[in-house]
């Protein structure tokens, strides 16, 4: 009685996680003194927090099978909006409220184009990306907003932390954890979350099964816009500077993190815990490679290669393709002789 190990499903579920652990072990051996320390890990969570918020909310959009390419540009725009508000004498509460409103409006615009007018999410959010970036550049005149116009209570939040005895939790980490928890509850426990997965699983079956698709897709883009706004504010607060393009890098990384997370799900569905691992992989890579003083350009190449590797491996097992002969022989024959 021998149970042949089912290689594809094993790789599909745990391949990415094993890869992540391998990366951690690698940096641990390379930088034993600094990498595996509590302060460094606290640092990693702070570095990842902004990307995390965008990636977590992006997960909701991708659950329905859509994309939101505009999040990075929207995050930049939101920073400029808040900065301009400060320049015009607004208080922190007013500026933050205005910024969040802009995020929701930007998301609603995407939702209207995609769910209301039926434009493909790729084209619609590529268009709004350009609009948001143009708006940010125009409003700011292409210059950064920094210095004394920014209230210190706003800029100190991004650098501040909650200290409980020995443990220090950065405010940004707390915000990201809150976003993670919210998205987790929405996707896992709410009726809307169940319906979002149904739309992504089979749009026609969802419609025939009585689900109002346009409404939910609209909602997912609004949440994504809100996530982009929160991330934009976090970035502004942490840097104490609003630059019209400072959020640009977030979009690609967020989508990559969701993809990495999808590789950990048996049905290749986006899921927020998977996205968290995806974000961790990107964060640890950046942190570890920087500690090893590897050029940031090389970091980009490595990150890209790892994403392609992970997605390729999981899509191979998705399609039910068999693992290479040598790997099968190694695993299969050993277990059969056992």
């Amino acid at each position: 009685m021998s149970q042949r190990p089912h290689l594809p499903s094993f790789l599909r579920r745990y391949g990415t996680l094993i890869g992540f652990l391998a990366i951690v072990v690698f940096f641990w051996t390379q930088r034993p003194a600094t990498f595996m320390t509590l302060p460094n890990w606290v640092n990693i969570t702070r570095q990842m927090s902004i990307l995390g918020v965008v990636a977590f909310t992006m997960t909701i959009v991708m659950v329905t099978g859509d994309f939101d390419l505009s999040v990075g540009a929207l995050a930049s725009l939101v920073g400029i909006v808040a900065g301009s508000a400060f320049q015009n004498g607004a208080g922190v509460g007013q500026a933050v409220a205005l910024a969040l409103l802009v995020g929701v409006a930007g998301g609603a615009l995407n939702g209207l184009l995609v769910a209301g007018l039926g434009i493909s999410a790729f084209v619609a959010s590529l268009g709004t990306l350009t609009v948001f970036r143009g708006l940010a550049l125009y409003t700011s005149g292409g210059a950064s907003i920094y210095g004394r116009v920014i209230p210190t209570e706003f800029s100190s939040f991004g650098r501040g932390a909650l200290v409980i005895g020995e443990i220090t939790i950065p405010n940004l980490t707390l915000l990201a954890a809150l976003a993670l928890a919210l998205v987790f509850v929405i996707l896992r426990f709410t009726i809307a979350g169940r319906r979002l997965y149904a739309i992504g699983g089979n749009r026609e079956a969802a419609r025939f099964g009585g689900i109002r698709i346009a409404r939910l897709r609209m909602l997912s883009f609004v949440i994504s816009g809100l996530g982009a706004a929160v991330a934009g504010l976090m970035l502004f607060s942490r840097l104490a500077t609003a630059h019209p393009t400072q959020g640009e890098g977030l979009m690609l990384q967020a989508i990559a993190a969701v993809f990495l997370g999808m590789t950990m799900n048996e049905e290749a569905q986006p899921n927020v815990l998977g996205t968290l691992v995806g974000v961790l992989i990107l964060g640890v890579l950046a942190n570890g490679l920087t500690q090893m003083q590897i050029d940031t350009y090389i970091q980009q190449i490595l990150t890209g290669v790892i994403i392609i590797l992970a997605v390729t491996l999981s899509s191979l097992s998705q399609r039910g393709l068999r693992a290479p002969q040598w790997l099968r022989r190694l695993l299969g024959e050993r277990s059969e002789s056992a």
Binding site: F189, G201, E204, A205, F208
Partner: protein, 506 residues
Amino acid sequence: MHMQIRRASKAYAGTPALVDAALDLHGGEALGLVGENGAGKSTLIKLLAGLEAPDSLDVCLNGARVTIPDSAAARRLGLRFIHQELAIVPALNVAENLFVNNPLPRIGGAFVHRAALYRLARAAMRRLGIDHIDLRQRASLLSPGDAMLVNIASAFIGADDHQQPLIYIMDEPTAALNQAEAERLYAVIDRLRARGCALLVVTHRLHELFRIAQRVTVMRDGRVVNTRQIATTSAAELIHEMTGLSAACLPAAAEVSSEPADVPPRLRVRHLQTDSLFAASFDLRAGEIVGVAGLAGAGRSQLLQALMGIDKLQAGRIELDGEAFRNPAPAESWKRGIAYLPEERRSQGLLLGERISHNMTLPHLDRFRRWLALINRGAEDRRSQQLSRSVQLRATGIGQRLRELSGGNQQKVMFARAILAKPRLVLLDEPTRGVDVGAKRDIYRLISELAADGAGILLVSSELDELLALCASILIMREGRLVGEAATADLDERALLSLMFAGAGS
């Protein structure tokens, strides 16, 4: 010229679709091919076209053995096909579409010879007497009838340049054509015959058969039943051969409780009109099972989709228990107590990657709401387990993914979804298609129980014995119209089939 086809067999996933079929095509002759839906006609054509690999197939062309591994080989042998499905590329213009399945005329090996392309396209269209279609028009702008004409014309590209007569194989070429267009095609068929071409024409229209064919072959259940001269047969005889004897595990017809006439019917439909449905009117009483019969493309599924609110209503009135509703949508329909099992359960009904329980509760999630937005998962699981027992689902548990279930058990999940909220009206589209015998019996029992519980049931099925056994009366549809309603007490399969075929008496 002579083409001999022998031992044509094909099974899909162990289910035979075509069993040892034999046909002979002769130059100068049109052979008609008739049979019910699923008799194996289209499968035979796909084998000859090289679109499906046969389990066995011997073809002799003018005495020489040939093989047809792919569609290019079929073309080289001089076979030309008009398939039922439109092979139109919307982004190309009409002339370019005519060449999608034909080699393009070239200059210098790599460049398209535009002048020759339009010349050949014009010649092919003229052959069919078509002069109202602009060759430079984008194909996406064509009406369905015109698109079919273009589809047909592409079989005649370069036909004049061939030394040898060709073999034309047509699968319901006139299904989308009006009378005048069909007449033109008949004339083309006559001309091709006169030139010595051989033709094989699949048709559901028997009067058409008597107009164009010299011989006719009847198929049933994947086998060739008979081939004879058209002059020695009649429409009635052909229908008898198409239906054959029925054998099934069918339940006894359900007793319908007669209600007083002053109670409004469960469903009252008046002059219902959509893109593909014309002025449908009928009543359905609570506890009644009404069948819907018709050939493929008669509009049966469209009728259910209109009632469900999937297709947009252009006109008409739907009343459920005397209450009218306008502009229905699937979400409201489920809430009103209408349950729907679509024809394509895999693509239109199920979430294959999700758990059984999630599939059962999909349209009913509001019933499991707690704390504003959350799902009461305990209640959901309990209800799913209960439903699994009612429909006798065979699965490892309610957490199993739909993908892993057999067709019959997948359909039982759809039934569980339908009965979850005690429906008032159940719309069933081919509920036993692709389902094994055991599951079929369970599904028949479920349908009877639903009716006994007081639901009104509208049952679309291509299996006539099923309709006759389950339903009290049957609506007959033809080309998007409801053309009649017949009580099953007065019907047998033969009579039902002649009602489904248009002009069967001619």
